[in-house]
């Protein structure tokens, strides 16, 4: 993804106007009097940071307005989805450019969004609308090892961890359910889940550690016998 999905307020939009709109929504909604800051750190079992993990934060016992849709980008580079995983609010769109010199075809048969983008290079297709919550798993019908994930969420606070494994947000005081998920983690769905109370003007920090290492990322050429089909 060419934008950051690591903001506390979700992916920055692809256009300046959308960025402004997103920030405006955030200012309206998320920073009332008594706002607190939340810092989540995700780690691998050996203590190294877990980057690109999806963090979603749902309020417990009250309802917050849904997050504003965004326009995100998931590229295809070196015969891999880049990034491997993005998280977007319900109603967002995702563009799938192909920056490789070879053609790709994208398909999904995940219940939250079934679609196909027939054989293409460059960016011939308009962005795809994701209007239901859930994890959509993408494949390429040419390169069978390619796999990508779009996590469509209705959580008011969401994002992915940075290279240091952290993600932070400003949010109103209250109780929250925090979920950390990575597509290659071995923990069962929905991932690591914690409840946390955040007081006003507090700075809450939470570190979550996986108990098992990530599964290896599928790579080109690692399954030659199946590639030859």
């Amino acid at each position: 993804m060419r934008l950051s999905a690591r903001s506390s307020h979700g992916p920055l939009a692809a256009s300046p106007a959308a960025i402004a709109a997103a920030l405006f929504c955030v200012l309206l909604r998320v920073v009332p009097a008594g706002a607190a800051s939340l810092v989540i750190t995700a780690q691998l079992p050996d203590g190294r940071p877990l980057a690109d993990a999806v963090v979603t934060v749902q309020p417990i016992g009250k309802k917050l307005p849904p997050p504003a849709p965004v326009h995100a980008v998931m590229d295809q580079m070196n015969r891999m989805f880049a990034p491997e995983v993005i998280v977007i609010p319900v109603g967002s769109t995702v563009a799938f450019p192909n920056s490789d010199s070879v053609s790709h075809q994208i398909y999904s048969f995940s219940p939250a969004k079934r679609f196909q983008l027939p054989l293409y290079r460059g960016k011939p297709y308009p962005p795809v609308l994701f209007d239901r919550a859930g994890v959509i798993i993408l494949g390429c019908n040419i390169h069978d090892w390619m796999i990508g994930y779009v996590d469509v969420t209705d959580a008011p606070f969401y994002g992915t961890t940075n290279a240091q494994g952290t993600w932070s947000a400003e949010l109103p005081a209250g109780r929250y359910e925090i979920t950390v998920w990575h597509p290659r983690m071995r923990e069962p769905n929905p991932g690591l889940v914690r409840d946390l109370s955040v007081d006003a003007t507090d700075r809450a920090t939470l570190t979550l550690e996986l108990t098992k290492p990530l599964r290896p990322a599928p790579m080109e050429g690692q399954s030659p016998s199946s590639d030859s089909y």
């Binding site: 010199s101 019908n141 599964r215 030859s228």
Partner: protein
């Protein structure tokens, strides 16, 4: 359809693809070798040594010249053509090792279907994942896969169905594959007439191998249809992508071993085997591959059955030292028994292979390999009067240059 007609059809489709398809990916590889060997003449050249190059062939050699074409045809069809020359002339200096049309519909509801028609390798090897059915680990293939390269090719149709657990959040996929084919009814003759070898030469479809058949001294032609019966294979695989692949396959050409060709009087060889394999990758550069294959081949001239049970297995350990450098070691064992009074065609052997691959960028690959084969065979002791096992050594330096658009 006669082999000549099929060859013509394959050549015509190659021409069509080369001229009419703009989206084609093509590749031209030249693999040159510097060889040092202490072996006698190879069985591939009418001798007895189970490796490709003999002492007399030490020096510069053509390893392989390859031209491949791979192109989508519309949205869900794909054509693949792979032609190679090995520096030896049987029927023609260059031949197609694979040529097939593939149907790749979009996966639906966790099921991915792939169908192929044409000439291609049955999905047995876990070693030959490089372009053109080459090995990314060594120059010479294992005895098991060298035999597939020499005698086996599916000339027919194949369907593979994968249940895509990985597209639903599970860590594995499960696959089933089945093929139906003809024209491979002399496969097995090369095992009975010279045994297993370790090399990288692939017999072109409808071409001959270098081995000589029995007392006739004629080159073996594995790709003949004699009795009009189709053969089959059926297999399963369990794949944890990037980590573990386990495969099993049953192969039977269902040839009638008592049927000779009315013109050439060559018998159909009934060849059937089971195979299994596993490949494990550590995620940190280590790869372990083990494959096993056991079966038998049979002819029954005049109703009198002659049978050769055979088996081959190997284990390969490979380590990617840096992004560009890979070290591999492989140990092979192979046996051909004989249920005939004279024990004609028996072979027992084992081999060590060590190789270093330097991937010098997009176009250049440099490989150094040392191969040592110890083999005890009927042919050695009977015809050369050299009882006991014979050990051959062969060292190769391969420099490969690849030209063309990105492979598919």
């Amino acid at each position: 359809m006669r082999p000549n007609t099929l060859r013509l059809a394959l050549a015509a489709s190659a021409l069509l693809a080369a001229t009419a398809v703009r989206a084609a990916n093509w590749e031209l590889d030249l693999d040159l070798r510097a060889v040092a060997s202490d072996a006698d003449t190879s069985v591939l050249d009418g001798g007895y040594s189970p490796m490709r190059f003999s002492e007399r062939q030490s020096g510069l050699q053509l390893g392989r010249l390859r031209l491949a074409l791979d192109t989508p045809l519309g949205e869900v069809w794909r054509l693949h053509l792979d032609a190679s020359a090995w520096g030896n002339v049987y029927r023609s200096p260059i031949g197609l090792t694979e040529a097939y049309l593939q149907f790749r519909p979009y996966p639906r509801d966790r099921l991915r279907v792939r169908m192929r028609a044409g000439a291609f390798y049955a999905p047995i090897s876990l070693e030959n994942g490089a372009p053109g059915w080459g090995s990314p680990y060594t120059i010479s293939f294992s005895a098991l896969n060298s035999w597939l390269a020499e005698e086996l090719r599916t000339v027919g149709v194949e369907t593979k169905v994968d249940w895509l657990g990985t597209r639903t959040g599970l860590p594995f996929d499960v696959g089933a594959v089945a093929g139906v084919y003809g024209w491979n009814e002399v496969a097995g003759a090369a095992l009975a007439n010279g045994g297993f070898i370790l090399d990288d030469r692939q017999t072109a479809v409808f071409d001959r191998t270098g081995k000589l058949e029995g007392p006739t001294g004629a080159h073996i032609e594995p790709f003949r249809e004699i009795d009009g019966r189709a053969g089959y294979y059926a297999g399963m695989d369990l794949n944890f992508p990037g980590r573990l692949l386990i495969t099993a396959l049953r192969y039977d050409n269902l040839a009638d071993p008592s049927t000779p060709d009315t013109v050439s009087h060559v018998f159909a060889w009934r060849t059937a085997f089971n195979s299994a394999g596993a490949r494990w990758e550590s995620g940190a550069g280590w790869t372990v591959i083990a494959q096993w294959l056991a079966g038998r081949t049979e002819i029954a001239p005049g109703g009198h059955a002659l049978e050769w049970p055979f088996n081959a297995r190997y284990a390969l350990l490979s380590k990617r030292i840096t992004r560009r450098q890979t070290l591999s070691v492989r140990y092979d064992r192979f046996e051909v028994d004989s249920r005939n009074a004279e024990a004609d065609g028996e072979q027992r052997g084992h081999a060590w292979t060590a190789a270093y691959v330097f991937d010098a960028g997009r176009r250049w690959t440099v490989t150094v390999e040392w191969l040592r084969v110890t083999s005890n065979s009927y042919s050695w002791s009977e015809e050369l009067n050299r009882p006991g096992p014979v050990t051959d050594n062969q060292a190769q330096l391969s420099i490969r240059y690849a030209l063309g658009s990105a492979t598919y």
